[in-house]
């Protein structure tokens, strides 16, 4: 997994998107020092989409407030153009609705900027491995979103009892390993459950966007 990847085939290629130059350079430098290859940086949404398309990073570390442009839109476009590229949101203000939006639009994890370098390193590594990087706060947002979808008319995804149970424990701050012990599951199974809750929501969001586009006669991607 993470270790295999770093020692084996290739170094993880990372791109940093943030409108604040000092922060951008600082994160890029830290990640480089931890053995990642920083293949690009961008300060706004359109540059992020353009550069990501050119350099094809494994992980994009994405801020949500990019001056007047939105990291949510950039996330959606980057993931749509290259499904192999994973987006890890690193946000300062953590506006609940923004974070939920970013995750629904394809981000596979979320971290507050106050997280330590070790936490960031771990999060980028796990994102590269295809795991969902969940904070307790994000699990709460997801539980809330699924509850909201329960009352939605039709075709909305729901959680299995096990998935609800797992998300609930994540929202209480338990690590995947602690959850595995408590529910007597394997660590991998817990990770899979968490990932599934995220994927179902992202898939539903894509379907909704497509339906909206068809209903409103928009044939091209609103790029």
């Amino acid at each position: 997994m993470g270790a295999d990847r770093a020692e084996g085939s290739t170094v993880t290629r990372v791109m940093v998107v943030d409108d604040h130059p000092m922060w951008r350079e600082s994160v890029a430098r830290d990640l480089a020092a931890r053995g990642y290859e920083v293949v690009g940086t961008a300060a706004d949404a359109s540059a992020a989409v353009r550069i990501a398309a050119a350099v094809r990073p494994d992980v994009v570390v994405m801020d949500l407030q990019l001056g007047t442009t939105s990291g949510v839109a950039a996330t959606r476009e980057i993931v749509a153009a290259a499904p192999d590229t994973r987006v890890l949101v690193l946000s300062a203000s953590a506006e609940q609705a923004d974070v939920l939006d970013a995750v629904k639009n394809g981000a596979s994890g979320y971290l507050v900027k106050s997280a330590s370098l070790a936490e960031l390193d771990d999060a980028v590594r796990r994102t590269a491995d295809g795991d969902a990087v969940f904070s307790a706060g994000l699990a709460g947002l997801l539980l809330g979103e699924y509850r909201r979808l329960q009352d939605a008319p039709d075709g909305a995804p729901g959680l299995t009892e096990r998935e609800t149970e797992v998300l609930r424990l994540v929202s209480r701050g338990l690590s995947a390993r602690q959850i595995a012990t408590r529910l007597t599951l394997s660590h991998r199974t817990v990770e899979n459950h968490v990932q599934n809750t995220l994927r179902k929501l992202q898939l539903h969001n894509r379907v909704e966007l497509t339906r909206y586009a068809i209903e409103h006669g928009i044939t091209d991607d609103p790029a």
Binding site: H20, M22, W23, S26, Q65, G67, A92, S93, A94, E95, Q96, A97, V99, L100, K113, S114, S116, L117, S135, A136, G137, L138, A139, G140, L141, L143, G144, E145, R147, R148, R168, S171, R172, G173, L174
Partner: protein
């Protein structure tokens, strides 16, 4: 006007509608009273011509008072002059002697129309001027000042001034509302700006925190200070007043408790519940967190989570402290040293909810509160 702000409705509109409806109705009354008093008019031709002209003028002012442009064109002043002319023209159809007696005047109630139009257009002074002029002309035409004239004049003055006051007050209220809406728009804009400024401040605090820890020594203290301010500012930004009709957002209430060691997890949307229930849950969570601070050690982290279960909410408070060994919990219960647990249990049971406590040595403590949304 700032973009996005709503346009204030014109509260004068109903008053204008009354004026618009009054004029044709009054004209119909004039025609009716002419027909009824047919015998008392020596020259029917001129009277009918005057009534037709009055009808035409009624059409003109009705259209004018019905459109915003017409209302702005100061039509009421011309209306007054034209109406005075009609009242004077009555002399062509009825001899002085008749009018001086008890004969009905051709213009009848219709002549009072400009008083109302002026009152709505210019307020109290407009109503006063209109009433004085119309009453004066009527008295001049009849050439007498009997009880009937005094009564009518009083009525005109009263109606003109009262309606004028109402129009002025309404106009002021509209202006105040317009200002309030503009201010609201400005506030929304300011909030948007402050969010982006705050985001910048948060960035800098995050950098200070990060670099401070790396450099170590005195810089680590700076780092800790920056971390505290970061959380405080983030809470300030995310917590909004969310009360409505005796209901409060449980999520926002709990989010206020976040610190650098306490993480709060809630749905993104509001979790509305009875204000008193939210207060009680908040107090129970507060007690559990105080307990964490006292017993779990300074390094312990805590998580508060609130989940909407439809008719109930599930609230949990968990810490990663040393926890309570099984035997000690029972011992504490036996000796009555479980103050906090009793207190939390009491609060939640009063709400018709249940409390579960999960703890073991090395596993921290976990409170699980299930509370129905409806008050018992």
């Amino acid at each position: 006007m700032p973009a996005g702000s709503a346009v204030a409705p014109d509260f004068l509109l109903p008053l204008w509608r009354a004026v618009v409806v009054f004029r044709p109705a009054a004209w119909a009354v004039a025609v009716g009273s002419f027909v009824r008093s047919w015998d008392r008019y020596p020259d029917h031709g001129i009277a009918i011509l005057l009534l037709i002209l009055m009808g035409a003028w009624t059409a003109v002012v009705t259209v004018a008072y019905s459109t915003p442009a017409g209302r702005r064109s100061r039509m009421a002043g011309y209306d007054l002059l034209v109406t005075v002319a009609f009242v004077a023209a009555t002399l062509l159809t009825q001899p002085w002697a008749e009018l001086n007696g008890s004969a009905p005047i051709l213009t009848s109630l219709w002549a009072t129309g400009p008083i109302f139009a002026l009152a709505v257009e210019r307020g109290r002074d407009g109503g006063l001027i209109g009433a004085v002029v119309i009453s004066g002309v009527l008295i001049a035409v009849r050439q007498r000042l009997g009880d009937q004239e005094v009564f009518n004049t009083t009525l005109h003055l009263l109606a003109g001034v009262t309606l004028g006051y109402a129009a002025t007050t309404t106009r002021r209220a509209t202006a105040v509302l317009r200002e309030a809406l503009a201010a609201e728009g400005a506030t929304a804009e300011r909030e948007r700006l402050s969010r982006s400024i705050h985001d910048g401040v948060l960035q800098v605090l995050a950098i200070v925190r990060r670099r401070g820890t790396e450099i170590g020594g005195p810089a680590a203290e700076l780092s800790a200070l920056a971390a505290e301010q970061e959380v405080a500012l983030r809470n300030l930004m995310t917590s909004r007043p969310t009360s409505a009709g005796g209901q409060t957002d449980l999520g926002a209430t709990l989010r206020l408790r976040a610190t650098s060691t306490i993480e709060v997890s809630t749905p993104a949307g509001p979790l509305m519940m009875d204000r008193r229930t939210v207060e009680d849950i908040g107090a129970a969570v507060g007690e559990a967190l105080t307990n964490v601070a006292e017993h779990a050690g300074p390094a312990a982290r805590a998580w508060v989570a609130a989940e909407d279960l439809g008719d109930r909410v599930l609230v949990s408070v968990r810490d990663d402290g040393p926890g309570i060994p099984a035997g000690r919990l029972a011992a504490a219960r036996a000796t009555g040293h479980l103050g906090v647990a009793q207190s939390i249990r009491g609060r939640i049971t009063d709400l018709g909810g249940t409390v579960e406590l999960r703890t073991a040595l090395g596993e921290g403590t976990e409170w699980e509160l299930t509370v129905p949304k409806a008050r018992p």
